[in-house]
Amino acid sequence: MSDLEAFRAEIRAWIEANCPAEMRAPVQGEDDVCWGGRNFVFKNAAQKAWLDACVAKGYTVADWPKAYGGAGLTAPEAKIWREECARAGARPPLSSFGIWMLGPALLKFGTEEQKVHYLGQIARGEVRWCQGYSEPGSGSDLVSLQTFGEDKGDHWVVNGQKIWTSYADKADWIFCLVRTDKANTYQGISFLLFDMTTPGVTTKPIKLISGSSPFCETFFDNVVVPKAQIVGQLNRGWDVAKYLLGHEREMISGAGDGGQTSAIGSVLKRNGLDDPMLRAELAQFDIDALSFAAMGEKFLDEIKVGKAHPAQPNMMKYAGTELNKRRHELLMTAGGSTALEWDSEETRGGAPSRAWLRTKANSIEGGTSEVMLNVVAKRILELPGA
């Protein structure tokens, strides 16, 4: 048996022994996810047991170094971990903006001290993070952001407003883009970290079309941020921000997710398949879903060895989110009038329609589809004036 085969057997047995049955059922919406954080309330004992078991082994962030709370897996080992979790239907033990976004940025730009401190907290699910990028006047044109940090010697005083801050009301800390030089557009932004309980931080939830309010307006009124809480250099936060966006886009794309974008024809055994036109549409969708799953696998393999184009996450995000939107349109069609029910028990409180509406944000959050196409045109195709 090769080392990797032995590793696979070991992982398979470990998942078998440690992943509770409840954690092998698909996640039912955002409030069924284990987000971690100071105030997180576990849904059940199984959710906590699965997290604890994974934290102990570093499997919440399997490919991070052991020193920062990971399991230090190599690329092929991490792939085996993902494949075996998918095989067992095991949910991610922990999901968070810390894992998907801030973690990779800290691994690249953080000081050793920051890595040990913040990454460890993220890996153990102790601190929940939110992302303070967008502002009312700065969405796609993010670099025009106005939230300002005034230099006060050993700290900054931050004033301004963010918007669409996902889970700002539930998060413990925020990673935030703050203008620290008004004279420079790109080279006048710093990447700051601060506690959401700092005096002067307030949040106001915004209700989505799906009926839930996972995101907020976030206000900063003379918020004091110590100088040690900057990632990267002063006025060079845009580099950190862009790097992080690559990881955010990779995550939203659903690459390697295996669920979000998976083929659906075979799961719709009963509904709608007596309709030959819908069946045909499902088959077309499944072709695209199977193809995108291969793309996700290829992308993740390539990125690990530096073969992927640095702007490829933009392409992945575009393709993955457009696919996921189509998937939910088809699920709604196949569900018929049942899928329209908004709060019935049969639909677990309107899960199909709420999920369908939620997917519409996929091609907006983290950079819109149009912006993704702009980036591909410019950075990959090198088209003029893009």
Partner: protein, 379 residues
């Protein structure tokens, strides 16, 4: 296994890319043979060069003098054939024909494979019986006659049929037309009495024939594999052809796309390069994304096929359908973005459009494979 080329495969891709750009280019091959009205539709000298490069025997077993490579490697060659629109018997001969013969007796392999590997012979595959690919139904009959068989029936869309030294024919030895069992594969030599080729030039200037088998008498040793048990081997031949055509389509798509983005960077209108217009930028970026995805699913299917995975069939059909749709989009966008010159014979972009059509039809179009994806997925 990671979903990118191994070092050996990357080296092969490098050398094939260079070789094909030098020798297989549009002017040197496609336009040349087309413009002189070549009866074969391809050049034998290039086929010989393929042999010198070791490409003709890629899929043949080592004991037969081949290199025992897989569909990933064959796909590398096919993508370059696609990118250069090279007329070549590679797919029907070195991929499908050799796959068929892999199920043949040592005698039969010894009869045909040396010529193929030397770049001296060409094979063609006779499966379709009608304008659409419906291999589930095989009406062409092979009846026992003396020591051998007598073949009667019609075959269509036999690409390079008239130039082939042997035809791989799927015929029915028992049962009714739509039975899965009762199919047998034959290697029919070109000079067998009773074969007529009605040879036609296709839109992409490849040659194909309508073949009539009128009581063609064959020795028993022309049978490939087991009598009545040819369905599984035929399945392998079809899979090889499908994933091969899909690989070629990704090459066609990439070739058309490269030509188009170059044009977007050179053509000026309204005082600007047309590539500055966002309407075109977004379509080009979408197309890039689709081509990347098609290449990924083709590679995935090739790996699964080479690894003997039970998911291979499903992924081959997904890949063939996806590659067909993406390649079709690439050539349509290509011609459109070229404006008026895209409609001229002088520009190459229209040639990509023609090849795309032929490849999509070959071994089942996108709808055929969508139906197959549905069936293999259980719905």
């Amino acid at each position: 296994m990671p979903l990118y080329y191994t070092e050996d495969q990357a080296m092969l891709a490098d050398s094939v890319t260079g070789f094909m750009a030098d020798e297989g280019g549009i002017k040197k091959q496609l336009r040349h043979w087309r413009d002189i009205g070549c009866k074969d539709g391809f050049g034998h000298a290039l086929w010989k060069q393929f042999a010198e490069m070791g490409l003709t025997g890629m899929l043949a077993a080592e004991e037969d003098g081949g290199l025992a490579m897989g569909h990933v490697e064959a796909g590398i060659v096919l993508a370059e054939i696609g990118r250069n629109l090279t007329p070549s018997p590679f797919l029907t001969t070195a991929v499908m024909g050799v796959t068929a013969l892999s199920g043949a007796s040592a005698d039969l392999r010894g009869r045909w494979l040396p010529g193929v590997i030397a770049g001296e012979s060409v094979l063609a595959v006779a499966v379709d019986e009608g304008a659409k690919h419906r291999p589930e139904r095989i009406a062409c009959r092979a009846e026992r006659a003396g020591n051998g068989f007598r073949l009667t029936g019609k075959k269509d869309f036999v690409v390079q049929g008239a130039s082939a030294d042997a035809l791989i024919v799927a015929a029915r030895t028992s049962g009714s037309d739509s039975d899965a069992d009762g199919v047998t594969l034959f290697a029919v030599p070109r000079d067998a009495a009773g074969i007529t080729h009605h040879s036609v030039r296709l839109v992409d200037s490849a040659m194909a024939s309508h073949v009539t088998l009128d009581g063609v008498e064959l020795d028993g040793d022309c049978v490939i594999g087991d009598v009545d048990g040819g369905r599984a081997l035929l399945g392998k031949v079809l899979s090889a052809g499908r994933i091969g055509a899909a690989a070629e389509q990704t090459g066609v798509a990439a070739g058309a796309f490269g030509m188009t983005t170059t044009y977007l960077k050179t053509r000026k209108q309204f005082g600007k390069l047309i590539g500055e217009f966002q309407a075109l930028q977004h379509r080009a970026a979408h197309l890039y994304s689709e081509i990347e995805i098609a290449e990924a699913v083709v590679l995935k299917a090739q790996q699964l096929l080479d690894g003997g995975s039970e998911r291979a069939e499903l992924m081959v059909s997904a890949a063939k359908a996806k590659a067909a749709r993406v390649c079709n989009l690439a050539v349509r966008e290509g011609v459109q973005m070229h404006g008026g010159v895209g409609m001229t014979d002088e520009y190459d972009i229209g040639l990509y459009m023609k090849r795309e059509r032929a490849l999509t039809e070959f071994m089942g179009d996108a709808n055929y494979h969508a139906e197959r994806v549905a069936q293999l997925s259980g719905y």
